[in-house]
Amino acid sequence: MASQLWQDLRQEQLHYDPSIQVSDTSLAKAIERMQEVERGYSRIFLSKVNSFSYLYIPLSAKTMEEKYKALGHQPASHLGVPIEYTPPMSPNTAAVPPKDDVTRPAMYVMFSGTGSGVAGTNALIPDLVAAGYDVYVSPSAMKFGDVSEANQRLVKVASDPNIIAHPLIIDGFARPGFGTIWDNENAGKGTNSPGHNPGDDHEMAVNAKTIAALEIGEVLAPGAIPPPEELRKSKVQIAFNAGRLKEEQLMEFGTKDGLGYIAEKVAQGPIGHSHGEVFLSEDQRATIRAEEEAVAPDVSQGSKVPFRGRYRHLDERTLGAMRSDPEDPPLTVLEYDPGMFAWGSPSAHDMVDAALSGNNNIQVTTVTSSLPESPSYPEVTYKSDLKSVPGEFDMVRMLHVGENLLEEEYEDLRNRLGEKVKEGGFFLETQRVYIPRAAEIGFQPPHHIAIYQKQGGTLVHYTDFPDGRYPKTQRELQNFHPGPERLYILDKSTTEPHKLVS
């Protein structure tokens, strides 16, 4: 977090040459501004190994296992915003082994940072060579003149930016920015650096402390390089530690891809879903699932379809208002989206499953956006199964009202239904229910588009949810189900309502 880094700098720069100090007033203001930004986050993703990790690694932690365990005590929030820790967030997705033909133990030296950083890096190269290492640099370091003339004959140019992952590259040498550290972490390599230049980004100084605390790199200041034997020893130790850190992180996260990990987490929230969906926590889902399973063990594929586990809540306020008006019949027609029931999960798969298990001759309406030439699960699965059902199907499209319909398609469907309904003085309700293995529990298959006739100005149907309670189990659902005589399914070609044959 920038505000933390700058807060730290306010203290640390008191030891700096006054000419390179940043105005304390400006720093204080900038910190305030950044805190405003940071408070605005809904959640923060922070790599498990981050700038301030060193604060949580006690001197008593000797092994990587102990050090890594200590990282578990890093703060759970920042300015009230929850922090989620992640694998390294490297955007480098190279998965192929590096192509470079490294033949001897070598170091990969990266140039970055200020002029003095470049000079410091150059000063080290002869020492690394003297210690017996080949030194690789990037093509850009040669091209942009970072490598001094004297050093140009000492180094080799790496053609593959992923060279750090080569088994013979012992460690990396670079200004310790997290772009580099993350790549090195994922390669299981250490990050050594030329030491902090006080005029440089303060983050480098803080990062170096974390590297030191984890013992995954060291500062090799020009003029203070240990003798070759000692240097080799420490490089081997650092490489070992870095390898262990990689293992620990893989064990915890199961992936090295921090950005993918973040995307998965982000997609659990609104960005990964349709507007207005509300999702239950893992625990809530587990409870619901257990309840479902207790009533009707789901041995169908339904438990594995991607839609399973997605839950939504009905807008209670809307439904409540409709039901609480005893004088007038409800004027509002409610459109149910799939999987609305608090306990239920939507799945076209389960709908078809239930209908077929009930030996129903169904006409399946055409609603979702899948196309015959690019079928998507679950339609594709059931297309073949439906061959046993009388009738011709180009494709099977189940009602996912609003699930993933284009607005136009949805409106069109609703309008067509609406016209039909108006002609007959009917009410329209679109609805889905979730019944795994319906036949096994002796239950009538659910309807998915139903049209109900007005009965004396009252919509009897709404009383099927007494006290605003939705059926929580399949058994409760049986009590609410309106029965086949009131169930209509729309024919896909004519839009004529057909009575369901059960």
Partner: protein, 160 residues
């Protein structure tokens, strides 16, 4: 009573047909690239859920960065660059290498920047134009299309 007079209440709406995510970045290529990777993966997930992919709106004006993103993106058509957005935040991004100046900018310009960002993306802002780095065509978005914000190390004010 007919349906024509009946108000339809959508308990939930799934019709966000033109969703976008605002990407916030800092200096260098890395933040944009990080934003891109997350965006790409989110879209893979959305597509698997049969939701429309989201557009990522980047504060980028330089051809060099556009080229970089075009080379790295899974679907360049989902990557939109907004030169106006880039201009608003340029001082923050460009000063990353000069620390003293950077701090001064954060300390002194945040108020104005916030105003400009709100005028561009805030709830009362107008439709705005971006350019798709895939097709090169102008893509117009409404601020209401923005369903989320991904921040990869920005130092400028938020639009909340």
């Amino acid at each position: 009573m007919t349906l024509g007079e009946t108000e339809i209440t959508r308990a939930t709406s799934n019709t966000d047909k033109h969703p976008a995510v605002l990407i916030r970045t800092g200096g260098g290529n890395a933040p944009s690239l990080m934003g891109l990777r997350v965006l790409d993966r989110i879209n893979a997930i959305r597509i698997s859920r049969r939701l429309p992919p989201v557009d990522g709106i980047f504060p980028i004006a330089s051809e060099r960065q556009v080229k970089m993103l075009r080379g790295e993106a899974n679907d360049p058509n989902r990557v939109l660059v907004d030169s106006r957005y880039a201009a608003i935040v340029d001082a923050y991004v460009a000063s990353h290498g000069q620390f003293k100046k950077h701090i001064e900018i954060v300390a002194t310009q945040s108020g104005d920047t916030k105003t400009h960002l709100m005028q561009r993306f805030g709830p009362n802002a107008d439709m705005f134009d971006t350019v798709s780095i895939g097709s090169g065509e102008t893509v117009t978005h409404s601020p209401k299309d923005i369903i989320g914000v991904l921040d990869a190390g920005s130092r400028y004010p938020g639009t909340d």
